[in-house]
């Protein structure tokens, strides 16, 4: 396998020998140190392969043995190179091609973010873009280490980033911190404030100075437990501590929503109009566009990025725009169904806002019908943890 490849690179000649004493010719050649391989005999002729250099040395042997020999086939890179020596434009083309590949691959054509869970990829891409780390930039100009430290400084949630090139791709790998635990470090001074307006129903202070009592009504932002503590019963000087307490409060939520009794249903027909376009950088070149013969349609845009293997995305993308025709039909919903679905969406909204251990004490729903729409108001009274630790700003004064 490798030998064949090596021989091909060096070039070899298949020699055809004819005459009376071919064996003598072979012997002479061998004794002259000529290397032969793949020797075959066919129809009183011997064919063998030998290198270009050795082929030139065959002549005296043939004379001695009175044989005739000729090059049957010439194979290998040197012969091909010789063949194309005169075609200058081809060599130029190959050269330009290689230079183009090299030039194109020295740019960044795609920025990808990996490992992010909370921060969205687009955010990171945009922040990098502001600093000039974006698609279309020359790879050698980008200082990745600086970009890494910039990202870490910009987002406190990121604890580690690794930015590297993978082909023409700029790969941003991110490790995020786990969301900060609610439990505060005892040493950082903090207050506990109210998350919402509430009626305090339960307060247990582990640390800090309680500012409210059971039954008090607090407003959002009021300090429930203070981190400032007097040093002793008789000592008016204060020290700072991290307040720690559990404060439950009765709070009320009011969520509004509306829905329409009439709903639009799209009955898609099979009529599709397509538009193909090539996206080069941010330019769009349409090369095929079907006429739209219908009035109501939805657009589906598919973007196919062209790339040389996965590692080398190119700045070209094939965009297909499909317009799907639909026939609109209006469906009348019964009032009961509409109310049900509206209520469930309201509950879903509410659940996102409540604390984990909230207990629903009371709920009221009001529906109002105006025209085709139904408006609903969901009032809920819950008992939940209303404390929220907030770091003390006056830390430096102490």
């Amino acid at each position: 396998m490798f030998l064949t490849l090596w021989n091909y690179l060096r070039g070899y000649v298949i020699v055809e020998v004819s005459g009376f004493s071919m064996e003598r010719f072979i012997n002479l050649a061998l004794n002259n140190g000529i290397y032969l391989w793949d020797m075959q005999k066919k129809d009183n002729k011997i064919y063998f392969k030998t290198s270009i250099k050795d082929f030139k040395r065959l002549k005296p042997c043939a004379k001695k043995a009175r044989c005739r020999f000729k090059a049957h086939v010439k194979r290998g890179v040197p012969f091909i190179a010789h063949k194309y020596k005169r075609r200058k434009m081809l060599t130029l083309g190959i050269g330009i091609f290689i230079i183009m590949i090299w030039l194109l691959s020295s740019f960044v054509w795609l920025v990808e973010v990996e490992g992010n869970e909370q921060i969205s990829s687009m955010d990171i891409i945009h922040t990098l873009e502001e600093k000039g780390y974006a698609t279309g930039k020359l790879k050698s100009r980008l200082k990745l280490r600086e970009a890494e430290s910039y990202l870490i400084n910009k987002y406190p949630e990121i604890i580690w980033t690794g930015i590297k090139f993978e082909g023409t791709r700029l790969l941003v790998q991110i490790a995020e911190t786990v969301p900060k635990p609610k439990m505060q470090d005892d040493n950082t001074p903090c207050d506990i404030i109210a998350k919402r307006d509430a009626l305090v129903t339960y307060i247990a202070t582990y640390k800090g100075m309680p500012m409210v009592r059971k039954g008090d009504i607090v407003k959002k932002g009021d300090i429930l437990v203070s981190g400032q503590m007097p040093l002793g019963p008789d000592d008016p000087n204060i020290y700072y501590t991290g307040a720690k307490a559990r404060v439950n409060g009765r709070t009320s939520y009011s969520i509004k929503g509306h829905t329409s009794l009439q709903q639009l249903k799209k009955n898609y027909t099979d009529n599709i109009s397509r538009k193909y376009s090539l996206k080069v950088f941010n330019q769009q070149l349409t090369f095929f566009n079907q006429k739209i013969t219908f009035e109501q349609y939805d657009k589906v845009i598919t973007n196919n990025r062209l790339s040389v293997t996965k590692l080398f995305p190119l700045p070209f993308a094939l965009e297909t725009e499909e317009r799907l025709e639909y026939m609109p039909t209006i469906i009348e919903k019964s009032e009961e169904d509409a109310k049900d679905s509206l209520l469930s969406t309201l509950w879903e909204n509410l659940n996102g806002k409540l604390a984990e251990d909230a207990i629903v004490l009371k709920k009221d729903v009001f529906f109002k019908k105006t025209g085709n729409a139904i408006y609903a108001t969901l009032n809920v009274i819950v008992e939940e943890d209303i404390g929220y630790p907030i770091a003390l700003q006056s830390e430096g004064e102490n």
């Binding site: 071919m22 064996e23 072979i26 012997n27 061998l30 004794n31 140190g33 290397y35 032969l36 391989w37 793949d38 020797m39 075959q40 005999k41 066919k42 011997i46 063998f48």
Partner: protein
């Protein structure tokens, strides 16, 4: 004449051979005898041969120090050859020394 030659092949217990045996040197190094390696009936490698006498796809005859080596077979083909070594591939039927 012929008888004399045959004698010379058989009488080969010469000084050289005695020496190699005494010194435990591989015989082929000193005596220039052919070393023949067979791989099944598919490949035969002969080192230390003198010259090629006949070369066809069915029969290959080589001149060696131990006499003429005849290889009979089907579709024999010399895969590579130099002055010292020849490697023949094909379907080998018989190998014989003809004196």
């Amino acid at each position: 004449m012929k008888g004399k030659r045959r004698n010379s092949y058989l009488k080969k217990v010469s000084l050289k051979e005695q020496l190699t045996e005494a010194l435990d040197i591989p015989k082929e190094v000193i005596t220039n005898l052919p070393v023949i390696t067979l791989t099944g009936n598919q490949e035969i490698v002969i080192e230390n041969f003198n010259s090629l006498i006949e070369y066809t796809a069915q029969k290959i005859r080589l001149h060696t120090k131990s006499g003429i080596l005849v290889i009979d077979g089907i579709e024999l083909e010399a895969k590579n050859m130099t002055a010292e070594k020849i490697c023949i591939k094909g379907h080998i039927i018989q190998i014989a020394f003809v004196v």
